[in-house]
């Protein structure tokens, strides 16, 4: 059985209904454990004091903010190439989640930046990139809302997602060129495998990141189900209307 068989809405709904309870429990468990562990169980940083506890919200949400867009890019491509409706609806479902994740990353970043850098906001490349990402999410969601025909909306938002991705990367480099920035380097460099975060902070952070990831997954599955039901209701309504 190929993975594409889950592109069928009915099959997708059946599967997602089955896994969702586990996902929700696991997501809630990881988020709660990660945050409580981080909040109560870790020492203060010798330079940053207790503000380091914000990392358990800031890093996971920032990670998911980018991953959500990345997921939308992939599902948009799948829609454009293979025309699977579930894929397009998953992209639609993920956008608000990504938007909120971006917002959390921005808010926690600002609250963290205030005591550390002495300012709520700095036009630092990372902060600025996230602000731009936020705008992209807004535009993407607004375009979905504005187009009546669902397939046309899926087509146009997919292309916007594609073009937007290119421009988002371009903006990232432009912003870096424009201002070198205050923000510390990446916390989890994938390539080198070396962490700039010590173990005491790392394990609760990892738990929290897994939790945010699972939460994202659970939310997207749930919201995709919602979109599928709305689409089905609309399809039935159109046809019922034409009988008369």
């Amino acid at each position: 059985m190929s993975i594409w068989s889950y592109a069928n809405p009915v099959k997708f709904l059946a599967l997602s209904t089955k896994v969702q309870p586990f996902l929700w429990v696991a997501a809630a468990g990881c988020v709660i454990v990660g945050l409580i562990w981080g909040f109560f169980g870790t020492p203060d940083d010798f330079r940053q004091g207790s503000t380091v506890k914000i990392i358990y919200l800031h890093v996971p949400s920032a990670l998911m903010a980018i991953n959500a867009w990345f997921m939308m890019l992939i599902t948009s491509l799948i829609w454009l190439i293979r025309r699977h409706h579930v894929s397009a609806l998953a992209a639609k479902a993920a956008a608000p989640v990504g938007l909120v994740m971006t917002l959390i990353a921005l808010v926690t970043g600002a609250i963290w930046g205030q005591p550390m850098w002495g300012t709520w906001w700095a036009w630092d490349p990372r902060l600025t990139s996230f602000l731009i990402l936020f705008l992209f999410y807004l535009g993407y969601i607004a375009l979905w809302e504005a187009i009546e025909d669902p397939d046309t909306a899926a087509d146009l938002t997919s292309i916007l997602c594609l073009v937007g991705s290119v421009f988002a990367v371009l903006s990232r480099y432009a912003v870096q060129f424009w201002n070198q920035g205050l923000h510390q380097g990446t916390s989890i460099p994938v390539a080198t495998g070396e962490r700039s975060v010590s173990d005491v902070f790392w394990y609760p952070l990892l738990t929290s990141m897994v939790g945010f990831g699972l939460l994202f997954l659970a939310l997207v599955l749930y919201r995709t189900g919602t979109e599928i039901r709305l689409r089905r209701a609309q399809a039935l309504r159109v046809r019922a209307g034409r009988e008369l």
């Binding site: 731009i132 705008l135 992209f136 807004l138 535009g139 607004a142 375009l143 504005a146 187009i147 046309t152 087509d155 146009l156 292309i159 916007l160 594609l162 073009v163 937007g164 421009f167 371009l170 903006s171 480099y173 432009a174 912003v175 060129f177 424009w178």
Partner: protein, 218 residues
């Protein structure tokens, strides 16, 4: 293709065509800046290059919602789609017409408005060059935004919301080049990046715009 270009230009210059509106908007924005930040010459001269770039960008944005919407309403787009002209070429030509009627006048007017904002003497040349290189990208990207929103009623605001984030790289490199020029620094790097963006968007965006138009008009 030339026929389409000539028609768009002629329409823009006829009464009600909207030519000059962008220019007037640019003038007003520039005039309002000193009212909002204060008249100190030193302050104005540091922000002049950036303000002029931003003003030009907003003026460009202003006329985008007429770019394809008018042709959509009177059926011209449907007829163009059935004509032997490739749609990619048609949207490129429309972007070019937009640039000639909106971007080019802004480029030419910018130095005059620079005087109002105390732009340093070294900055005039670089401002004009950076605008001349950058504004075509604004027109081409704007055409994509216009194509996305063509069938949408009251799509003007949405158009701005979609297009402005896409304008970020162009604005950063363009304004950076103009600012460096005004400060007497070497603007070569941002100018080359700007040129790269412009060339890439001119080469690639028409395909996206045409694809989006075909999907939207179906």
């Amino acid at each position: 293709m030339i026929a389409l270009l000539m028609r768009d230009l002629r329409l823009a210059f006829r009464a009600g065509g909207g030519f000059g509106l962008g220019l007037a908007f640019f003038l007003i924005v520039t005039t309002l800046v000193p009212f909002s930040v204060g008249p100190q010459p030193a302050l104005l001269s540091t922000i002049a290059a950036g303000v002029l770039w931003l003003g030009a960008l907003l003026a460009c944005l202003l006329s985008l919602d007429r770019l394809l919407a008018l042709d959509y309403e009177d059926g011209t787009l449907d007829l163009l789609l059935t004509a032997p002209l490739p749609l990619e070429a048609a949207v490129s030509v429309k972007a070019l017409a937009h640039w000639i009627t909106t971007g080019l006048p802004l480029v030419l007017a910018a130095p005059v408005l620079g005087v109002l904002l105390n732009l340093p003497g070294a900055g005039y040349g670089w401002l004009v060059i950076s605008l001349a290189i950058g504004t075509p990208a604004l027109s081409v990207i704007g055409t994509f935004g216009a194509a996305l929103t063509v069938g949408i009623k009251r799509g003007g605001l949405l158009l701005s919301l979609l297009v402005l984030p896409l304008y970020v790289p162009t604005l950063i490199f363009g304004a950076e080049a103009a600012r460096r020029g005004a400060a007497g620094l070497d603007p070569a790097t941002p100018l080359l990046m700007l040129a790269g963006i412009t060339l890439a968007t001119i080469a690639l965006m028409p395909f996206a715009s045409a694809a989006v138009l075909r999907m939207g008009l179906r």
